[in-house]
Symmetry: C2
Subunit: 275 residues, 2 copies
């Protein structure tokens, strides 16, 4: 397995969301020799989609994914507003040349305890977005989120479940495998094999801290936690995945407080040494 060099890294903009806007992220990626970037839509809209697309291209960066589409349960039932917003997300992903549109599918609707119902809404929404995405040749990547987000963020929580949905919906849809969400899964390797090259559309790195002090904003830098990062990357690459290694760290307590260039340098070192 090759050591991860900076050109094999992609910066998910959430990692430095408190320090840098998208232009600064693009400049930072170029300055540190990263191969790509993965913008969040709020930062993309702030900069302007067309302008961002030009800056990304001018700096020779790839786009490992656009974060994020989905959230199909936001208004309870599946509404035109939600479907339309997902179409716009697909268009934006096309404009910036993203490898895929990453989907955080949404949690339980407000006041609901019907997780099966929510999963039905999500599957229907993904089907509609996929129909559109196929017409513009954009791949849709379901990101199963850790089960601790089932209530409020995503009711798809395992690779198995995500791949069941992919089986149902057909070509053009796959998964974004983020170690934070899937490292604990006893079926991890089997489901990565099941996904295979065509459906492994993104690979995200960070680490699981012990203890974890906050459910949302206490992710660790690679090497500071308990995830077998080399082992998982090996299993992912064994399927033929050759995309960038995207680093996505939500860290209100640590990395969001640091100088962003130091964060970038740390990512490079850790990716080289512990992933």
């Amino acid at each position: 397995m090759d050591v991860i060099t900076p050109d094999r890294l992609s910066l998910n903009t959430a990692t430095v969301k408190e320090q840098w806007n998208l232009r600064e992220c693009i400049d930072g990626c170029a300055r540190h020799g990263f191969g790509g970037i993965a913008p969040w839509r709020d930062k993309l809209h702030e900069m302007g989609v067309e302008e961002a697309a030009r800056a990304i291209k001018d700096n020779g960066l790839g786009v490992s994914g656009l974060c994020r589409g989905g959230w199909y349960t936001a208004e309870g039932a599946l509404t035109d507003a939600v479907i339309d917003d997902n179409k716009r997300a697909v268009d934006e992903a096309v404009t910036i040349g993203a490898e895929c549109l990453v989907m955080v599918v949404g949690g339980l609707p407000e006041g609901s305890k019907d997780i099966q119902g929510a999963r039905g809404i999500v599957t229907e929404g993904l089907a509609k977005t996929l129909d559109y995405a196929r017409t513009v040749d954009m791949k849709i990547a379901i990101e199963p989120l850790h089960p601790m987000y089932a209530g409020d963020r995503a009711v798809v929580n395992t690779l198995r479940h995500a791949l069941d949905i992919c089986d149902q919906l057909g070509a053009g849809i796959g998964v974004a495998a983020d170690v934070y969400h899937i490292w604990w899964d006893p079926e991890l390797k089997d489901q990565l094999v099941r996904a295979g090259r065509d459906r492994l559309m993104a690979f995200h790195l960070c680490d699981w801290l012990v203890p974890t002090r906050d459910l949302l904003t206490d992710r660790g830098m690679m090497g500071d936690g308990v995830i077998d990062l080399k082992g998982i990357r090996s299993d992912v690459e064994a399927q033929g995945f050759s995309g960038l290694n995207e680093v996505e760290i939500f860290s209100a307590l640590n990395w969001w407080k640091r100088d962003a260039d130091d964060v970038m340098q740390t990512i490079i070192e850790r990716a080289r040494d512990v992933c």
Copy 2:
């Protein structure tokens, strides 16, 4: 499905751990008409096992489980000390007439990232404890913990995985199904059916709060969260489970600060109305 009356309830002593010692828990269960109790070993040792057994019996309480055995990874490899402590836990469970010994199997050993290795240690440890438990006719109930505890508390995180271990080890071992840990699982119903009457040894109630402010001590009272409690109880009882409904709420931010008799009364009302 019958409404849960107080005599169908069991108090897990963790629910009022900050307010009551075991004697007060036993008296409280009797005073509020609970059918049973589920002591933690620290409170049991504090009171004395024999004395607790007498008090529980004198008050006509059942024991839905003893919390807890397991923690096989505590010393890295499986040591005699860990095995012996689990034997003592089995003996204590027998002494107090528990329905089962509940197993929290342990997380990753200190400094380890080898979750498969940890799972091997756990399975070996469970096999040894089960060998002994069979000689004294005590049932062993693996409690799969929520995946957010895979690092530091339990590397068995789904009913599927727990039942795979049960299949491997044979008679006398089953699962403790706690809604907090399993409610999100898309395979929940299928795995409850797979467990069946013989392997469903305990059923624990509480709720998942949105937002959850702490990974360990922010469980909700039934009805305050997003879990479909009636639905899960229905699926559990459909397998023939007829044990007590054990209430286990870790709540440093709320219920541990309240008068324990008020907590007991709230449990009775919520069990009747929302479970």
